[in-house]
Symmetry: C2
Subunit: 282 residues, 2 copies
């Protein structure tokens, strides 16, 4: 069981920012990543569809006998983490709760900002969980949908990106936040540009990095760590090889994505049948 891989899925290839942290923090673990590039983005889909996709993505990864599942996608974490925790018999973590815990530890002013897709912010997933854990904290959410295509197009710096960040962050900064949760896998790529707008008084929390830390902790507690593995493997699967995959993937992973395999996901779904959807009707 210890040698079994950790499964990670994301709506696309932004989740590679989480893989980057997993590889750094858990250098002996085998990883298997699924990016649902044929159906990205999840952030604009309905909740019903996001839950269905999350069940399908998890079912795909379970073929590899994964010992743990990391939902790298904030949208899927916000909408489907409870569903997956209930329906799978392995440990599951999303990126929301790890980001929440880190932000609560960080804030001194009890004012936390959260940025993400419209779906993530609209779900109030960060907001609700912060309030449960620390009712005294005020939470200011801001959807930043345009930052995702800016990252994917490689507009990491420059006037357009800075103006868009300023546009989005101004209301949060006016509310004197001292902690800002980067609630989307894409945003760590923009952390320098974001920091140049927020200034040094605001601490940036990378939910993906926090999820990698929690993953390490869970594996240690359950005695599932693969400490002795000298030839760790990371396998990458995507449901489509989009244009500029290599360029964008490298931006997220911090190094080239080697040997990504395209999955015929429609064929996979045909094969596994209806059973995986049962949790949707409970």
């Amino acid at each position: 069981m210890r040698g079994n891989p950790i499964g990670i899925f994301d709506s696309g290839i932004g989740g590679l920012t989480v893989v980057k942290h997993l590889q750094r923090l858990l250098p002996n673990e085998n990883l298997v990543y699924f990016g649902d590039t044929a159906r990205v983005p999840y952030g604009t889909r309905s909740d019903k569809l996001i839950k269905q996709y999350a069940l399908e993505d998890a079912a795909f990864l379970q073929q590899f006998d994964i010992k743990m599942l990391v939902i790298a996608c904030n949208t899927a974490s916000a909408v489907a983490v409870d569903l997956l925790k209930k329906s799978l018999d392995i440990p599951v973590t999303g990126v929301i709760i790890p980001g929440v815990e880190a932000a609560i530890r960080s804030t001194k002013t009890n004012k936390i900002g959260v940025i993400g897709t419209s779906a993530t912010i609209g779900s109030r997933a960060y907001h609700t969980r912060i309030k449960q854990r620390a009712p005294q904290v005020r939470v200011f959410g801001q959807p930043c949908p345009l930052l995702i295509p800016l990252v994917e197009e490689g507009w990491i710096e420059g006037e357009v990106t800075r103006l868009a960040i300023r546009h989005y962050l101004s209301p949060l900064l006016e509310n004197d936040i001292d902690t800002l949760i980067l609630g989307c896998t894409h945003f760590p790529v923009l952390s320098e540009a974001i920091a140049s707008v927020t200034g040094p008084s605001v601490r940036l929390i990378d939910s993906g990095e926090e999820a990698a830390l929690i993953t390490r902790k869970i594996l240690q507690e359950l005695d599932l760590s693969n400490a002795d593995n000298n030839s760790p493997q990371t396998q990458f699967y995507v449901s489509d090889i989009p244009q500029k995959f290599d360029e964008v993937g490298t931006r997220f992973l911090g190094k080239p994505v080697v040997n990504a395999g395209r999955v015929d996901f429609d064929a996979f779904l045909m094969e596994i049948g209806e059973k995986i959807y049962e949790p949707l009707n409970k």
Copy 2:
């Protein structure tokens, strides 16, 4: 047959800009629109996947006994129009050739610019067809991927949008184009902002409007016009009801989208089986 609807599909709801022109130019026709909102955008997918999607979208519309098919999506027109013309037994038009014809009629300097998604520009679909028809014309293509999310987010004017447009159009303007093809359904929404950057010496060609004009011509030629219809209907179907559907739909159609129905597209695909994919293997 005359009373049968015209079918229109698009990767999402941007194709409603084409419906707007069809309703204006063909006020007596019944229309049925399918927007593949569960799988939008097509512009970043592989050619293989785009062809598969186009066959599926057309198969969905054929359930309504459409008398003609309009591919409103530039990406699908660029990649799949020939495939659909070969595999369907009704007239088919995309938006590329209509845009090409109008641009060639317009240019005096024989320098035409084309803007679109990365897939549309990368396919060189406009370029190749302009060169076939008018070899003396020089064509300057520019992918403008960020303009799509800017429109969807409603950033129709303002500094960020103007800077992004200027960034994309500068190389075209330096080449003295006098005609600019708006090669994406979303761009007509930005035509004022685009015109403010290009100035009055550049004529903007709306490929969707040109496709509606060609559709009218084809129906007249084939004696398929529905002139006597006093209660024309437009039915809207989408594969997901995305967030802000009403707001964004209204922006494209120019009026509220009434009675859009969500299709369980996965269930539809299960039912129709493998036969529709045969043209992919020819």
